[in-house]
Assembly symmetry: C2
């Protein structure tokens, strides 16, 4: 047993490869590079777990150092080969132009301010293409620095015992999941991981213990290192930034939603045709998602609101169009644990294909308080951005802007009154 299999020591760099980020940062990056290279943004980190005052846990200098470590990383030759060779979703999905940009790009260090005991980390480059890349890295760094603070004063054995708790939970989860060989899942845990090393351990274990069930990881570095499928399509930021970019009128804002989906399909075709539905509420989404798209796209990703209700809503959507839902798919990815995955799998088995993107409870499974940390695009070309989601409590943006966007998209909070179960 080795302390070093749990977490890097204090002072050591946390992000050690520029590929140590979610694959969707590449899939989106390539679209941004091709379709919206001039769009300007600001991304901001927010800690929704207000009870934890991060300034009391994390030294500002250390945070800054870690961001700088990360900033200067360049992809290695092998990493470039890997990106170039990626063909899991479509042939040569990353064109030379994008790869060349990626190899030579220079990132700008985010700014760090302190407000109400929290770190206000914001991107400073200005270009969406480059700002976007910081998201999962800033989150992984902040989480790991927070983890380090929790471990201060732990004896060697206390660290081992903690690791042991994680292993025992992982073991129990694997046993449960193994009972349902048709249940497939992927690691989506980069951003909220306890540590880089723990994610790596967990991913290795899942790959070895659940062959045929564990499909891959959202972490590009780990996918490369262990020969796993890199998993990821698009995130809310695509809808949000396009809504800001097309801010001229209510109509253009609404139109931005379809534009994003069309551009996406235009670039990747069916390979990456899994759509997030909840940026401005799933009800708007289904009104806007026309029959032709419903036929072409593989399915949807669920990221907020009641997952059962969501699945039933998807089934109704396909039923009304006469589409056989058994050829479509839902990717569940909102606060999952093993029990919930089994429950959802059994609920929808034989009715629609389902798979799971497992995050926090996989890579931060020690029973500690985990931070609800996000890094969101807050501005696009100067326009304040909004995400509504299917859980009104998760809406982000300025209050007046939220109100406006709710009106634009006909969002009725009472449609989404879902209180997720706290475990």
């Amino acid at each position: 047993m080795n302390f070093n299999s749990l977490i890097f020591r204090s002072g050591e760099p946390i992000i050690r490869s520029t590929l140590d980020m979610d694959f969707y940062k590449f899939t989106m990056g390539r679209v941004i590079w091709e379709k919206y290279p001039g769009v300007h943004t600001v991304f901001q980190m927010m800690n929704r777990t207000k009870s934890v005052r991060l300034v009391e846990h994390i030294d500002k200098g250390e945070l800054s150092e870690q961001l700088e470590h990360c900033r200067i990383l360049k992809p290695t030759i092998s990493e470039m080969h890997y990106l170039r060779g990626t063909n899991e979703y479509s042939e040569r999905m990353f064109p030379e132009g994008y790869l060349s940009y990626y190899k030579d790009r220079t990132l700008s260090l985010p700014s760090i301010d302190i407000k109400d005991g929290q770190y206000d980390v914001r991107t400073t480059d200005g270009l969406w293409l480059k700002d976007s890349e910081w998201e999962t890295k800033v989150l992984a760094i902040t989480n790991e620095l927070y983890s380090r603070s929790l471990l201060k004063g732990y004896s060697r054995f206390q660290l081992e015992a903690m690791q042991a708790r994680g292993q025992v939970r992982l073991d129990a989860d694997i046993r449960l999941l193994r009972k349902h060989p048709g249940l497939t899942l992927s690691d989506f845990g980069s951003r909220r991981r306890f540590s880089a090393l723990w994610q790596e351990y967990v991913v290795q274990v899942m790959a070895a213990e659940l062959p045929g069930q564990f499909l891959g990881t959202s972490n590009t570095y780990l996918a490369m290192k262990y020969g796993l499928m890199p998993i990821g399509t698009s995130a809310h930021e695509m809808y949000m930034v396009l809504a800001g970019m097309m801010n001229e009128s209510d109509d253009s804002i609404r139109a931005s939603h379809r534009r994003m989906l069309t551009d996406w399909y235009d670039v990747y075709g069916p390979g990456l045709s899994i759509a997030l539905t909840d940026t401005f509420g799933t009800e708007f989404f289904f009104n806007d998602f026309i029959e032709e798209m419903a036929h072409k796209w593989k399915g949807f990703r669920h990221d907020s609101g009641d997952p059962i209700k969501f699945g039933e809503r998807v089934l109704r959507f396909y039923r009304e169009l006469g589409i056989d839902a058994r050829e479509k798919m839902i990717v569940f990815s909102d606060g999952l644990d093993a029990q919930t995955m089994v429950k959802l799998y059994l609920h929808f088995e034989g009715r629609i294909r389902v798979t799971f993107g497992w995050g926090t409870n996989l890579t931060n499974n020690f029973g500690l308080l985990t931070l609800s940390l996000v890094m969101k695009a807050i501005l696009a070309n100067g326009v304040p951005l909004v995400k509504l989601s299917d859980n009104p409590a998760k809406a982000t943006g300025l209050p007046e802007q939220i109100k406006r966007i709710m009106a634009v998209f006909g969002y009725h909070p009472e449609l989404y009154s879902y209180v997720p179960c706290i475990r």
Copy 2:
């Protein structure tokens, strides 16, 4: 995390130092060497867990090989220095004559037969002095080969998860014990350990995590390696063999009991004056343990029967002699777990000093079925031997001999009707 921190790989030797045995084998050995060098014995291994047919788990050839590995081990120069320098209980407690014997002794390989699905392992040398040494080594080897059989087919992670379960239990136990800083304890787990490596790990952890509470280990090798107190006094075999040796009449058999205690005190003085009371029943013991001895001896070790009743009996014994029990000590060592230790500690706190010798539940704490494996002296100078204990179900020996010895010692089973709680 490393497979090798749980158990040695198949084929690898289990006993790697001739000091890897209980310290009481040395303390008794030195007394046997001085007082009873010509006594002949046979020791036999017995598996009381009949439901486990050991021949189905352990290959006879492998068992034989492990015993041979162990047989040929000689103490290293440093180990001899260590034994020579032992002065925890009395100055130079091992005289040069005994050390010289130990350095050059040649052990004989025990015989292995198969009977009712069990291995009948018996010592073959004939001399008590040499046969005695096999006890904890044969038990440790058999237990570890059984552990290996349980792990067959485990994946790397399943081994890690098992180790994790052991760590989680150990962690919980340490947390509980730490709440009672006055509770002291030692490792008595060599004979029933899951594996040599696991005992080593557990002992290291206990030493690091419970300073001031963890007093030492019965394992001489680990005591040396980690600079811990080697713990051990005498075992039932001393009383049993002397009873066989002095088999001329009922009177001489009864007299053997006092002889053993007198010889022991003669050799070690107060340093090792903790007496086992239950070989022929604790009631006989207290009748035989005269006032002078009660004053001189430090106290008693409990190894069978109800520990609370035992402690109260000890208190009554001292009270009737007008001795302040707060200057005396009980060492509890029968099937302990952390909860039981705390319970006993709190029950007797301030009335008599107590400490604990923690065995199986410390070093084989994975929640697996553990074997009730013993290796007992069954013959001394041709006389069949008997141990009664304070739990009639634990009596060992031939039925007619048990009956005779019960009569000799006035043993009434109904005095000892204790059913230990099964966890």
